[in-house]
């Protein structure tokens, strides 16, 4: 939309919302949230950017095609489950490990990558929907 106020504010709001979406994603295991909601928030963020600056702006900022991101998300989630194969446990078994980083113990788990996969699928798919709807026949 051609309004200066919105166009100026939109990118900041977008990055703020993306930040929030990452927060929601990462804390999902202990509090409400998780990949799906995070993904929806991120998609909303891109939708805001799209409404303000047009479809091309979003495409440029996402770099990859949203559906490719979505595909990657599914792949990631599936591979997170497949890692169990190496450890000779059934599909999608949660595997955990901790890494110390700057004195902080950070937990890595297949479950987390699974959730990130969910996030990416949702971001990609919903953004793709929003973009294709925004896009005009003649645009």
């Amino acid at each position: 939309m051609r309004t200066l106020i919105f166009r100026t504010a939109a990118p900041y709001l977008t990055s703020l919302m993306l930040l929030f979406s990452v927060f929601v994603l990462l804390r999902g295991h202990n509090e409400p949230g998780g990949g799906f909601i995070g993904g929806l928030i991120a998609a909303s963020a891109f939708a805001i950017l799209g409404i303000a600056h047009g479809v091309h702006a979003v495409r440029r900022s996402m770099y990859f095609h949203p559906m490719a991101i979505s595909g990657f998300g599914l792949l990631l989630a599936a591979l997170a489950g497949m890692l169990s194969y190496v450890f000779r446990v059934p599909f999608l078994t949660g595997l955990w490990t901790s890494v110390s980083f700057l004195g902080v113990k950070v937990d890595f788990s297949t479950v987390m990558f699974f959730d990130i996969g969910v996030y990416l699928v949702v971001v990609g798919a919903i953004t793709s929907v929003a973009l294709s709807l925004e896009e005009r026949e003649d645009g």
Partner: protein, 517 residues
Amino acid sequence: MTGEVADMAGAMITTPATAADWLVIAPVIIPLIFGALLLMFRHEMRWHGIAALVGLAALMGAEVALFARVLEHGPVSMTMGSWLPPFGISFTVDLLGATFALTSGSIAFVCAVFTLRDIGVTGRRYGFYPFMMLMMAGVSGAFLTGDIFNLYVWFEVFVISSFGLLILGSEKAQIDGASKYAILNLVATTLFLIATAYLYGIFGTLNMADIVRKADGVRGGAPLMTLATLYLLAFGMKAAAFPVNFWLPASYHTPRIVVAALFGGLLTKIGIYALLRTLVMLFPVERAALADLIGWVAVATMILGVLGALAQSDTRRIFGFLVTSGVGVMLAGLSLGTETGISGAIFYAIHSMLIMTALYLLAGMMKERGGSFSLHELSGLYRNSPFLAAIALVLAAAVAGLPPASGLWPKVMLVKAAMDASAWWLAGAILLSGFLTTITLGRVFLLAFWRDHAGGHETRGTALPLLGYAALVALTVPIVVLGLFPEPVIRIANMAAAGLLHSSGYVGAVFAAGGGS
């Protein structure tokens, strides 16, 4: 972090999962991963066909191995996430699931061969192969899962993928057909979900083996009759049983022919599979009480289906109605509920998967050689394409239940089972529907192949569509082989039916892993 509190052995499976165990989930993972990759490399269109073939070949390989394993060891099970059943989601594969999965995988492979020439740039760019892959993931998941809510999820996966396949091309009729298909299918799957919600409310569990164990305990107090009827409706709708079969004839003639072939082969059969799984395995007592209702539904479905076929001019619509009619035949087996009846239904389902796919591919080839789908316009194919005519004849015989093709034996089994149960009307309807099918297809052969109208379509070019023929032959050969040597399949169907009726093997496979609770 809190190891001393955790009761690992009481919560998780501790025995290691071997590669052979992974076979039960492989038919889902393989197409899923291939689908994701194909989507990521959506623009590398030259490789799509090959990649899809490789993926489906791998899928088929896994299913063959799985089938062999089930045949050898009886039902096998794996519970995801290492959780003890019924807490995690179990994939439990008995002979029924393995057989259906294998057949569907093979059909998908054949269809993929057909697509190599049929799917153009636009179709590839907008995800034909990812749709197909994900549909196969959904279909395999539906056949293999041992958890009823998970079954719902796989249903949705293949349904949404089928939407995608259905609309690729965006023709007017496609969009219209897809609208009806999508809305009615959504209602159907939602009914499934509703029924599952009630089921959960009653049993407190979703694992089908667990439900089997608990069913006798709750019978009497819980509204199981109503629940069973609701499942009958939901899956009946998926299977396209009268009076909720509208979506099928409204849509199957609209997409690309190979998509219709895939649908004709797979979709209704999943409904049948789910009906067998729920009504026979989970609610046998309720199924028996509903047997007459199912029987009448079966009769109406098969007769109205074939009458619908008689009334059509478009070959694809004819075949669509014939799919419905076949569903009625399988429902007859469900209504009977005896081992022979169910075994007949299973055999018929296998036959139906092959034959319906083949019929649509045939319609595609007829269009290619004869320039139209309409009986008003088709002509002279017998002269132009004698080989196609030969295949058409075999396929027609197969649908009508005539020798030397595969349709005869399941029909014999079902008629025998119906007569054994003194269900004369059911036997009569099965035979009558076969007869009406003969008329329908006899007319098709007459009009499209034998007739030579003046000014009929002249086949352009002489290049034979080799891939198309290859796909057709790949389906026709097993149809004939099943017609000539049905014994192995009958035996498998019998074993599958027995496994369904006496589900202790199934339950045992699930809870063997760790005793369960």
